[in-house]
Symmetry: C2
Subunit: 290 residues, 2 copies
């Protein structure tokens, strides 16, 4: 188009896309550029502001490594990651929630009733529940990949003082669909703030905190895999998770119990604290659809 204008440039862009291209890519690129252009037109974006946007992307690029995913973090704090989770959630299953950047493949096996706390200090938490289908029947043999922070607020991959797989476990449930393990209550922590994303949080007057949570990936043959988290209902950051991960059905009451009531058959390194905490978190998986 010889005379490109503010008003026709979006249609000119769409006209450049070839007839034979993948129709879904056409839909996505058309919608992306429509919104990008509308954003610039509505805000009357200046050259200096455009340059700040480019500098943000280049700043993320400068620190992006295999272990530091600044673009993912940007998506997280802008709410895009959580929105994609919700768009793709099944209403008849447990809500999904952000995977985050700290999942590590290859976690060691953890028996049902096993101990993930090991020699770490902090309040003992017994987490248990049943993995069910949407009819309420247990799913035998479901697999749960579990990970969380240590009491210092760091994941193993962030902390040289921890083993590679401390606070990581892979559990296969039995015929009753029940999982159970002992651990330390996870703590609140901040997302990394030393990069461009931290700069945006700061400029927007936002804090970088996430409420404490356990991460789960739950899988079973014939069912849709679920990436989710469980939060305690007394966490101060529940209503202001900086990555928008909290869903009502993922907030659970952590019940305080006496040492005398600690159940038999649960593994635990050392002695149980008095009180200890118990959380029951049942998970519903939706069937895989064709």
């Amino acid at each position: 188009m010889r005379n490109v204008t503010q008003d026709n440039i979006t249609d000119v862009f769409k006209g450049y896309m070839a007839e034979g291209m993948d129709p879904r890519l056409r839909e996505i690129m058309g919608a992306l550029v429509q919104h990008l252009h509308d954003f610039a037109r509505e805000t009357k974006l200046t050259h200096a502001e455009w340059q700040q946007g480019i500098a943000f992307l280049e700043g993320c690029a400068a620190i992006e490594t295999e272990d530091r995913h600044e673009f993912v973090l940007a998506s997280d704090v802008l709410g895009l990651s959580s929105l994609v989770d919700m768009i793709n959630s099944r209403s008849d299953a447990t809500s999904s929630s952000v995977l985050g950047p700290f999942h590590v493949s290859g976690a060691p096996p953890l028996e049902v009733g096993g101990d993930m706390k090991r020699n770490f200090g902090g309040p003992v938490l017994l987490a248990e529940g049943v993995i069910r289908d949407t009819d309420g029947n247990p799913i035998p043999g479901a697999e749960i990949d579990i990970w969380q922070t240590a009491p210092n607020g760091l994941y193993a991959s962030q902390d040289e003082a921890q083993d590679t797989f401390s606070f990581h476990g892979l559990m296969n449930v039995g015929d009753d669909g029940r999982y159970a393990f002992t651990t330390v209550k996870p703590v609140e922590y901040t997302v990394p703030t030393d990069g461009p994303v931290g700069g945006i949080l700061n400029a927007c007057g936002r804090h970088p905190w996430r409420p404490s949570h356990l991460h789960f990936i739950v899988k079973a043959p014939g069912f849709r895999s679920l990436v989710t988290e469980v939060f305690p209902d007394d966490d101060p950051y529940l209503d202001q998770d900086t990555v928008f991960g909290v869903r009502e059905d993922l907030v659970m009451h952590y019940v305080e119990k006496n040492a005398a009531d600690f159940p038999e058959g649960m593994a635990l390194s050392g002695t149980v604290t008095d009180p200890w905490l118990s959380v029951q978190f049942d998970v519903t998986l939706a069937k895989e659809t064709g």
Copy 2:
């Protein structure tokens, strides 16, 4: 917000921004996230598609250097750079057009009537015009920063065979506001296609070509600086510039003339071709507003 949903997450994001933050940043971040979320909701973006988007950004990051600006190129081929140009253009001045990634500061002085062609082959082009204000009066002492491709389609910074500043010149006009120089007619060229942006062009069935052009940055004290380009009216890519840079008032007729009509007083290395080309491109600058 404890129960973040698809429908409220955009408002939750806006609610996270502090009252005391910069109001313009609030406007920009609010509009950006509104459009980003609307894009994801409208397209029902999947996790796999989100991952492709992240992989695109990480792919740009992997090749981004001081000399390779893949994020700027992405902005260019999505039409954002040109749109920002147009949003910030003055209707009473010559249209602006993309700066592009090949401008180099520190170009050597070029006299009015000087030679930028030097020992390069190709059709001789005499470019001239007058720098005026919006009342039509010449602007004495206006400065023009000029750059273009060599006949091989490469800018000096892309081509080890060229001097750092070949086809770059910095001209100060006299009291009559007139500039003039001899050069080689620029050629069409492709934007870099060996990175993620090339992958998108290819997937969309788009070519990577730009019509041939001369780049100008025109400055004068008290006037708004203008970044612009001039295109010949017979270029095959005028109606499909891959970076959307063509504006009607920047398209000029390059007149063929006989060697005998080559004006006296113009510097030129070697002999004039028969025919040679002449383009007249007057530029209007708007006054700097307070």
